[in-house]
């Protein structure tokens, strides 16, 4: 896509967003919508401006929690995927357990984790780890097993050692799946961190949203919501950008 077209598209979207904001502002102003229902964009922007410090700190904290959890969950998931692909016995025993763990709604685990690991960073990062773990596991397994029988036959005909088969065939073949999982678990880690903050912290964006709402500081609450959305979107964008940089070849979409 040419730069001009991308620019035009972005401008059009920015224009749409701006138009929406203007509409929002006008409607809330003209209909005197109460602030607990829908604050005016200008008021939200003001809340942003006068609370830059707390919002930024909350955002950085939540982001740090999410990043730690994302890394931990993916490392664990991919490692386990490798083990499961190498040993079908481990897979047959381990996969049902992983699926069982996955079946527990994450929010239901928060109280338990809070009780076991207490208030604070550990619980929150653990939640983020848990939410990233399963997509990484599934992506790793699917990806490592993705090469066609012909590709594997070729490797065998070349008498390639296992390590080379992994390095040159299985791992590159798995990368598209792994990055697709990243695009899901990156924003999900942000979400998980925020949910965990509800019960296990008194800082961070998730907590800030609740706290601001509880103190009837609605513009601040909305500002925090905007910040949270931006963080989640940023996480996705970073994952997508990483995908574009690493996956330089066309991949068939399943």
């Amino acid at each position: 896509m040419s730069v001009a077209r991308v620019l035009a598209g972005t401008l059009r979207e920015a224009g749409a967003v701006l138009g929406l904001l203007v509409l929002w502002q006008l409607v809330t102003m003209l209909l005197a919508v109460p602030v607990f229902l829908l604050p005016q964009p200008i008021v939200i922007a003001q809340a942003f401006a006068s609370n830059v410090d707390p919002i930024a700190r909350a955002l950085l904290l939540t982001a740090a929690e999410a990043v730690l959890g994302f890394i931990g969950g993916n490392v664990l998931g991919l490692l386990l995927a490798f083990v499961f692909v190498r040993s079908s016995l481990m897979a047959r025993l381990g996969l049902p357990l992983a699926i069982g763990l996955r079946s527990v709604p994450l929010i239901a685990l928060t109280p338990l984790l809070t009780i076991i690991f207490g208030f604070g960073l550990t619980t929150i990062v653990l939640m983020a780890i848990l939410i990233s773990f399963f997509p990484a596991l599934v992506a790793g397994i699917t990806g490592l097993r993705a090469p066609t029988p012909e590709a594997l036959a070729l490797m065998r005909a070349l008498d390639a050692p296992e390590s080379l088969v992994y390095r040159r065939l299985r791992i590159p073949a798995a990368l598209p799946y792994i990055f697709a999982a990243f695009k899901i678990s990156a924003p999900a880690s942000v979400l998980a961190a925020m949910v965990a903050e509800w019960t296990a912290a008194n800082s961070g964006l998730g907590y800030l949203i609740l706290d601001a709402g509880g103190r009837y500081r609605f513009p601040l609450m909305w500002a925090a919501i905007v910040a949270a959305t931006a963080l989640a979107v940023l996480a996705f964008v970073v994952a997508a950008a990483a995908e574009r940089r690493v996956i330089r070849w066309p991949v068939e979409t399943a």
């Binding site: 749409a16 109280p111 338990l112 009780i115 949203i209 609740l210 919501i225």
Partner: protein, 253 residues
């Protein structure tokens, strides 16, 4: 037949874990009150059956209504997208943006708007399954093979006939997939919505934590998991029964 073998291994693995867990508890009795033995959890489920059931009823109602409403809206949006491609281009980004707003941010907002009660969690549940359904339904409605569509054209079928005979059956696998994902998502959404409320499974989880009622907490967790799993398996069985003809239903997941 490989599927049956997989099932057996799953049962073995889970049974083994439960047994080891029980044994461990017996051996180091009362050393880890935070993690009760499976038998104690089972007993707790019976002991607290009434409060659990009362709260569960609420959550189920919210989940079901949320799932239905979210799915219907999702399908409606998909139908709009397929019928009017221009709508897709303009609305798609809006939909994605709304979807990006984390549920954890939306839930407190809904609580403020609708107060404590059944409405907020239901809406959260609906939102949780709306987007997956919209995406899957759009894909599904477009999944009809071009050869099948050409055939209907050659037979001079009306748009409605084409829809009913080709597009709808072709989209069913996708719709059921979305429902498979949506059912546990709706339960999750309802639970999140109830977190700050005064009733429902979400509330029960939170309150049992702050009141340090460990066994009630575990019992509720187990029930919540069972419900989410049941919803998922319900639609998996739908898949088998109604869609036996699709490769997706026949092959392993």
């Amino acid at each position: 037949m490989k599927e049956r073998r997989d099932w057996v291994w799953s049962v073995i693995a889970i049974a083994a874990v439960v047994l080891l867990w029980e044994l461990a508890e017996r051996l180091v009795a009362a050393r880890f009150p935070i993690v009760p033995a499976p038998s104690a959890i089972a007993a707790a489920i019976f002991r607290f059956a009434t409060p659990i059931w009362l709260n569960l009823q609420l959550t189920l109602v919210e989940s079901v209504i949320g799932l239905v409403a979210g799915s219907v809206l999702g399908v409606a949006l998909a139908m709009l997208f397929v019928a009017v491609p221009r709508a897709e281009r303009s609305l798609y980004n809006l939909v994605i943006t709304v979807h990006s707003i984390p549920l954890v941010a939306v839930a407190p907002l809904l609580l403020i708007w609708f107060g404590v009660g059944i409405t907020a969690p239901t809406i959260v549940a609906g939102l949780a399954c709306f987007f997956p359904m919209a995406v899957n339904a759009t894909r599904g409605l477009r999944a009809a093979s071009s050869s099948a569509l050409d055939l209907m054209r050659a037979l001079d079928a009306t748009p409605w006939q084409t829809f009913v005979r080709v597009r709808l059956p072709a989209s069913l696998p996708y719709l059921i997939t979305a429902l498979k994902l949506g059912a546990p998502a709706a339960v999750l959404g309802a639970t999140v919505g109830e977190w700050l409320g005064t009733a429902g499974i979400g509330y029960l989880l939170f309150s049992s934590m702050v009141n340090f009622q460990i066994e009630l907490l575990w019992a509720t967790m187990v029930i919540a998991t069972a419900v989410a799993l049941a919803g998922y398996l319900l639609f998996v069985s739908f898949e088998r029964v109604f869609l036996g003809w699709t490769p997706a239903a026949r092959g392993p997941q």
